[in-house]
């Protein structure tokens, strides 16, 4: 199945790990560009670049508060993306949780 360019396709937009970090930060609370810069420790142009892509595909919404622009995730748009990888991620999470238990057990024995 062919994919459209990053700037149109939410799936492509979240494929980039840095943009996922931005989404994760915004998942907790609404933030300004400066707050994201501070939180992630990136440069401002880098944050703006990734925010721009996320905004274009509709994954992030922007609103003005006084002189500031505040950003938050658009949960509705994000959901299908999470639904796609979630079962696979869950499979691995469960497997690794079981591995954690095995490791805890043999750590005691050693």
């Amino acid at each position: 199945m062919a994919r459209t360019p990053t700037t149109h396709d939410p799936f492509n937009a979240v494929a980039e790990p840095k943009r996922r970090q931005v989404l994760e930060a915004l998942g907790v609370q609404e933030l300004s560009v400066n707050e994201i810069v501070e939180l992630l420790g990136w440069t401002q142009p880098m944050v703006s670049k990734h925010l721009g892509v996320l905004k274009q595909v509709g994954l992030v919404e922007e609103r003005r508060v006084g002189r500031q622009r505040m950003y938050r995730v658009n949960a509705e748009k994000l959901k299908p993306i999470f639904d796609w990888v979630t079962p696979f991620e869950q499979f691995w999470n469960e497997r690794f949780d079981r591995l954690d238990n095995v490791l805890r057990q043999i750590k005691k024995e050693n």
């Binding site: 994919r3 492509n12 796609w84 499979f91 949780d97 591995l99 238990n101 095995v102 043999i106």
Partner: protein, 160 residues
């Protein structure tokens, strides 16, 4: 330190690969042991609700493996492959689901020692086609495998 070790999965569109990373609160030696000791291996690889039958298991370079997941209805799902390289730092193996024979993926797994006796595992899986890769993410694995943490509770109860 984070309270819970998080599984990170990266599957970029139009690519034939998946990256999975996860940290463990155990030294590398033990994480490796859990991958090569058959008694330990069967405790965590099989999904919940399935009996895990380890038919052959030769976790050395050049060895082979085959295991079967059997559900309560008696349906069996077989998997096999060969171990190409098996060391504490790097494990390379092939993986084939017998219900989709002929489609073989290759797994490269590195175990990296972290401070405080922790270990970071990185799995790089490479598939024959983008469709194969997407298929494994979308379908195959998830059916019936999402029962949550019941299995965890069972093992914990046994340890007490």
């Amino acid at each position: 330190m984070s309270a819970k070790n998080k599984t990170n999965i990266t599957a970029e569109p139009n690519k034939q690969e998946i990256f999975i990373t996860r940290e463990f609160d155990a030294p590398r030696e033990l994480v490796y042991k859990a991958h090569i000791d058959p008694k330990l291996f069967v405790q965590w690889v099989g999904p919940h609700g399935y009996e895990m039958i380890l038919e052959s298991f030769e976790p050395v370079s050049g060895g082979k493996y085959r295991y079967v997941h059997k559900n309560k209805e008696g349906s069996e799902f077989g998997f096999h492959g060969t171990f190409h390289t098996m060391t504490e730092e790097l494990m390379i193996q092939t993986f084939e689901f017998e219900g989709y024979a002929g489609h073989v993926s290759m797994d490269f797994m590195t175990l990296e020692e972290l401070p405080n006796n922790r270990t970071k595992a990185t799995i790089h899986s490479i598939f024959q086609s983008v469709a194969d890769r997407d298929g494994i993410i979308q379908a195959g694995m998830e059916k019936g495998l999402s029962e949550g943490y019941e299995r965890l509770d069972e093992i914990l109860a046994k340890m007490k």
